[in-house]
């Protein structure tokens, strides 16, 4: 694992209590964390909350960060935990507001519906499938890492990814050619 691009000095300074250093870490890593939270939750307000919670939790836990792994990986795990712990209250909000909410699970078999934007299609996936697709398909988690983060078996993670891809292919009306 190449850790040479890690901001090790900044991490060490932040771990020692340097808030300016921690802000630099925030500036560097928050776009990725916010993107992750946005796709996992499908909702901007929830994604903002989770991003904030994740960085506050990271500040508190920074001393336990194992420098043998990537800082971004560690942050990702914190963010995933935050999303999952909000999921129960989040579902109701998710079902209400977003423009891409309420999409059918299967596309019109006749193919009459137009292809949908992929972001909306991902947001419309069932929770389990969406989480695995986002973690494994977009953010590069291994199935083992995703399974551990989501509290499922590795086989379940693989099955959910397969399901997610099938649903997306169907929903997006991807052509067989």
């Amino acid at each position: 694992m190449d850790l040479s691009s890690e901001p090790s000095d900044t991490i060490a300074a932040a771990a020692a209590g340097d808030r300016a250093a921690f802000e630099r870490l925030y500036r560097q890593f928050s776009p990725r964390i916010y993107g992750l939270c946005l796709r996992l939750t499908g909702q901007r307000e929830a994604a903002e909350d989770c991003t904030q919670e994740s960085f506050v939790a990271a500040w508190r836990a920074l001393g336990r960060f194992e420098r043998r792994s990537r800082f971004s990986t560690w942050l990702h795990k914190i963010a995933v935990n935050c999303v999952l712990s909000r999921r129960k209250g989040l579902r109701a909000a998710y079902e209400v507001a977003e423009p891409w909410a309420g999409l059918p699970e299967r596309a019109d078999p006749a193919g009459a519906a137009p292809p949908l934007d992929i972001e909306r299609a991902i947001a419309a996936l069932p929770d389990g499938a969406r989480h695995v697709l986002v973690l494994v398909g977009i953010y590069g988690f291994s199935h083992a890492e995703a399974a551990g983060a989501l509290g499922v078996a590795e086989g379940t993670s693989k099955a959910q990814l397969h399901r997610a891809r099938q649903l997306l292919t169907s929903t997006l009306g991807l052509e067989e050619s």
Partner: protein, 306 residues
């Protein structure tokens, strides 16, 4: 304060043979000097005992007196026996503040104390046995076993020795071992038992407060839970097994990150909703009792006494 110091004499073979009557198995094996000291003592006073190596046998009796008998090796500088009317102190001292002296640095003492005394001990490499003492006991050892039975509250802390104790009349029990085992019989008491790598086996009565902690050793307890019992357990990799008298009405929260949960009553454990691990949560009855157990990789078992 009156003070008496026993002046050490070099042993000679004649003296050694003469000490055989003290019954110590060591008295014929190494050069030893006899101890025989008596001090008046408050029948409800405190007795404090420090020994470096060897053994102590503390026995409660019905006299208002502390009696110290036994043998000390030739390298023991002195045995200080002091009293101030309420506190009797017995300290075995090696030369130059040393804390070990081989066999010749050992003291093997029988110490009789008023039965209602409270007793505190601090042993380095010495075994200790306490019997027929009804006051509070505070027993500590670095290496050396702690054993016996007592009537009062018990606090026992042993780094590398074992703790085997019966304290059925105690209202509060705290036992702590690191690498030694704990075998404890208690009654209706608040209990705290902690081990690092040794195993703990506890037979208890009706418990209101209990806390079990282990790192890698196993903890198994047989107990009944009071209606408002607060029972907590924590483990890193050791197993926790609780066998209850009946199924206590309580709020149960059992979690393990990578161990297994096995319960004879209540629902089946399920995967944790957030993060990895397995969890068992259920509530029975309307009372305020709780059973909260958590482990990293150790197994947790809840069952009823057979």
């Amino acid at each position: 304060m009156t003070q008496f110091q026993f002046a050490h004499r070099l042993a000679n073979p004649t003296l050694v043979c003469g000490l055989a009557l003290l019954g110590s198995p060591w008295s014929l094996a190494f050069a030893a000097t006899a101890i025989d000291e008596h001090r008046p003592a408050n029948p409800r006073g405190a007795v404090e005992i420090d020994n470096v190596a060897g053994s102590i046998d503390v026995q409660g009796w019905d006299k208002s007196e502390v009696a110290v008998t036994g043998t000390v090796g030739k390298d023991v500088e002195r045995v200080d026996v002091t009293d101030d009317g309420n506190l009797t102190s017995i300290r075995v001292v090696l030369p130059n503040g040393r804390h070990w002296g081989g066999r010749d640095g050992e003291a093997h003492l029988t110490i009789r104390v008023p039965a209602n005394s409270s007793v505190s001990t601090s042993m380095v490499s010495s075994d200790q046995k306490i019997t027929a003492v009804r006051g509070a006991l505070e027993l500590r050892a670095v290496s050396g076993n702690i054993s016996g039975e007592g009537g009062g509250d018990l606090r026992a802390n042993d780094v590398s020795g074992n703790i085997h104790f019966t304290a059925t009349a105690a209202k509060r029990i705290e036992v702590k071992a690191i690498s030694g085992d704990i075998i404890l019989s208690g009654g209706n008491a608040d209990v705290e038992a902690s081990t690092v790598s040794g195993d703990a086996h506890l037979t208890l009565g009706t418990v209101s407060r209990a806390r079990f902690k282990t790192v890698s050793g196993s903890v198994s307890a047989t107990l009944a839970a009071a209606a408002d019992a607060q029972i907590d357990g924590e483990s890193v990799s050791g197993n926790i097994t609780l066998n209850f008298a009946g199924e206590p009405a309580a709020d149960y929260d059992v979690r393990t990150l990578s161990g297994a949960i096995d319960n004879c009553f209540g629902p089946k454990p399920v995967a944790a909703r957030v993060g990895p691990g397995t969890r068992l949560t259920f509530k029975t009855g309307e009372g305020s009792a709780r059973v909260h157990l958590s482990s990293n990789s150790g197994d947790v078992k809840l069952c009823t006494k057979k």
